[in-house]
Symmetry: C2
Subunit: 453 residues, 2 copies
């Protein structure tokens, strides 16, 4: 019996004590997931059974629709209790998903200081470090002893999202250094914080792109990254658990862009049909219209195609092979750029490498294809492809792959140089260009080799 | 002047004191990156200037080729010193990249206890939790007081990769509970560890897939995940910084598979031309050969194409549009499955949704395409596409997109059901199937509508 069924059964039996005990052994994440499969009334009852602190943790993990439903059933006092238990950054995340009237109620139920901080956090641009940071962190002073510092952490730590990285600030809140709880614990009690702190702090600015901040955190193995304002005053921290979410979201976004989808930040099953359509239709339309050129090339060689119909049969294979070769290159380069493994200065190394790979791939495919035409197409299927057509096809493969890899590897880098997102230069875009290129090459070679065209 | 130039300049001036001071303000990650651009001799000299602890941290961040080069210049005593400073999991990662003779030297220079642990870690299957865990963690006993526990952490913590999550074990090393340093710090000194620990521990088994473990960690916001053997004895922990690397690598792997590349675990610029070729040629070959069917379909309709050459010009557009529509669906589903947002039980919801999106996309594209043919192709380019051909093309778009989205959304789920990796069912694979489908639909409709074919 899975968790959802177990909860439903206990609710059915009105065994609330049993439910409470059962849920106390489960994680907030699992409870939220199990609840989301129940109906509204069951969710309400089960949620009421949870102890205050667990309830807040479960609430944070729920999908926005259920959060909204629950808030609507809360009294003002209950809402206030919940808000007191939640971390600031979670509150802000939830507010961003709620309709205006719910937001008003949340703000009204917060105490003035919290309200001010929420408003500040809401103010940072989307995708900025400020938008994902939390304002609950531990600050220490330079002249504290280790004993005083640990005492301060013990006294104030319970409400902080993390206590493991502590920030040393001046009275004017300027960030001076960073010290980990590990450093404090292994130091002796009478050492001075200013002496053991690391004063070469790596920090982010509030307006910095959150993706860059998260990549820095991954690079330096940080548990938290301090965020400062223009005067280098500490205003928040980004914690690693939020950073992991950003990393996953950014990878999803890149994958969507590579598949010609306008990125969305909602899970698939929670996105409506109309919204899904709206994310997919722009690129489909654009790419369909671009295919006009490919059609135009074929129209231009109408006479040639009519006189040697065998040529037509290879068009799909040539286009697909070129497209696949090109997207292999483009996707590799796009990911390399995203991870910082490839930089703009590497452009010639990249091209030189891709061209050698292209020639090796082209040679192998071309030889295999010649064998395939002779053995499979002619002997087995009895298509009677003339040898000169087979040669045209094989030569086209080599030239097309050469151009595909060249286009596939350079376009993402050009896009980056021009300030566009390289991810857009993936398969569908490359395919459209490579299609036109491969047809031009094909007909060009055909005209030269097959003299009667 | 960037860091690499600065280091080179200081080396040139033989200003080693200046270099030492300059490097002391930099992170190991940045130092390793700057060094990798210098030549061998410069690396050696700069590395010698680093203080013992920093040197080990820089060493861990270096690419394997430089690590190997450095080890070869080390005396046995120097190598031992380095190994003492490194965390066990880093040592194992490095050993896995080294040639046999270097591995032998490393094992010979480790003390017997370390050597035993290294050998155990090397023994876990690739991609298992065991292969990425570290054996340096803090264990506590149930009957300790908080004061004793903190004292133990302060005494033994310096050599541990993380002290923030402590594991409570029985004398037989069985995992009983988990307690965070934050819990210990905010508790009072005389509380008993057994009372404040969380005994509902979520743990991984040594042989569990590392990807699953890392996803659990992200789900539960863990800083570390305990790893146990078959008898539930604690044998290691996976730390979040390593988990972040696994998450990034897995996303890269999925992206590569989606682009018809056999995944590699090396950065692009460090992969040789031959190796890159070897990762790309299998799928190119397979997909090229599959295109035989598409060619065969065209050959079967040779007569129809010869009598209405206007039909040929739309083949690339129809194939591309079908392929793009299909890969939008497949990539969305593949990513949803990877993130656990879509499960097998959702298969009918997914199909129902994709079909509605398909009809909406098909309708819009079809209408736009009709307009485009009439306005652009006929009026501007003067192609004289007959109205019945335009109708065939537009009808084909609707049917093709319907099938593309159906194939694109179901194939990844079927693959998962059969135990294959859904990521392989992305664009290139879908394209090949959709090409054949769209041609069959195209010629089928054409035969019915255009009566003189």
């Amino acid at each position: 019996m899975d968790m959802k069924e177990k909860i439903a059964e206990l609710l059915e039996q009105k065994n609330y004590a049993g439910l409470k005990e059962y849920l106390s052994a489960e994680t907030p994440q699992d409870i939220a997931q199990a609840l989301s499969d129940l109906d509204e009334e069951q969710i309400l009852v089960a949620y009421r059974v949870l102890p205050k602190e667990t309830a807040a943790e479960v609430f944070v993990e729920m999908p926005p629709e259920e959060q909204e439903m629950l808030i609507k059933t809360f009294s003002d006092a209950q809402l206030k209790l919940l808000l007191d238990e939640m971390y600031m950054d979670d509150t802000v995340d939830i507010i961003e998903e709620m309709p205006a009237n719910v937001v008003k109620r949340i703000l009204r139920s917060s105490d003035p200081e919290t309200r001010k901080q929420i408003n500040e956090l809401l103010h940072y641009p989307e995708d900025s470090a400020g938008s994902i940071m939390t304002t609950e962190y531990v600050t220490l002073r330079e002249n504290m002893t280790v004993e005083e510092a640990l005492l301060r952490i013990r006294r104030t730590g319970i409400d902080k999202e993390t206590v493991y990285t502590c920030y040393v600030t001046s009275p004017a809140r300027v960030l001076l250094g960073v010290v980990s709880v590990k450093d404090l614990l292994v130091a002796s009690d009478d050492q001075i914080v200013g002496d053991i702190m690391d004063s070469h702090v790596i920090y982010a600015n509030t307006n910095e792109d959150k993706e860059d901040v998260v990549k820095e955190m991954a690079k330096y193995d940080f548990l938290a990254m301090p965020v400062v304002d223009k005067e280098k005053r500490l205003v928040g921290i980004v914690t690693l658990d939020d950073a992991v979410d950003v990393l996953t979201d950014e990878a999803t976004e890149d994958i969507e862009k590579m598949a010609a989808i306008v990125p969305s930040d909602k899970p698939y099953l929670r996105t409506g049909v109309f919204e899904t359509w709206r994310k997919r239709i722009p690129w489909l339309l654009l790419l369909m219209v671009s295919a006009t050129f490919t059609g135009q090339i074929i129209t231009g060689f109408e006479a040639a195609l009519a006189s040697s119909v065998a040529l037509t049969a290879f068009i799909p294979m040539l286009m697909d092979t070129g497209g696949n070769a090109g997207s292999q290159a483009s996707v590799t380069i796009i990911r390399g750029l995203a991870l910082g493994e490839i930089e703009m200065k590497d452009v010639f190394r990249v091209i030189w490498k891709e061209l050698r790979v292209a020639l090796m791939c082209g040679a192998v495919l071309s030889v295999c294809n010649f064998g395939k035409i002779m053995l499979v197409d002619n002997l087995i299927f009895g298509n009677d492809v003339p040898v000169n057509v087979a040669l045209v096809v094989c030569l086209t493969i080599i030239v097309t792959i050469f151009f595909s890899k060249l286009v596939g590897s350079t376009l993402p880098m050009i896009a980056k140089k021009l300030g566009f997102d390289p991810a857009v230069m993936a398969s569908p875009f490359i395919t459209t260009i490579v299609d036109a290129l491969s047809l031009l090459v094909y007909f060009g070679i055909a005209t030269v080799v097959i003299t009667n065209l």
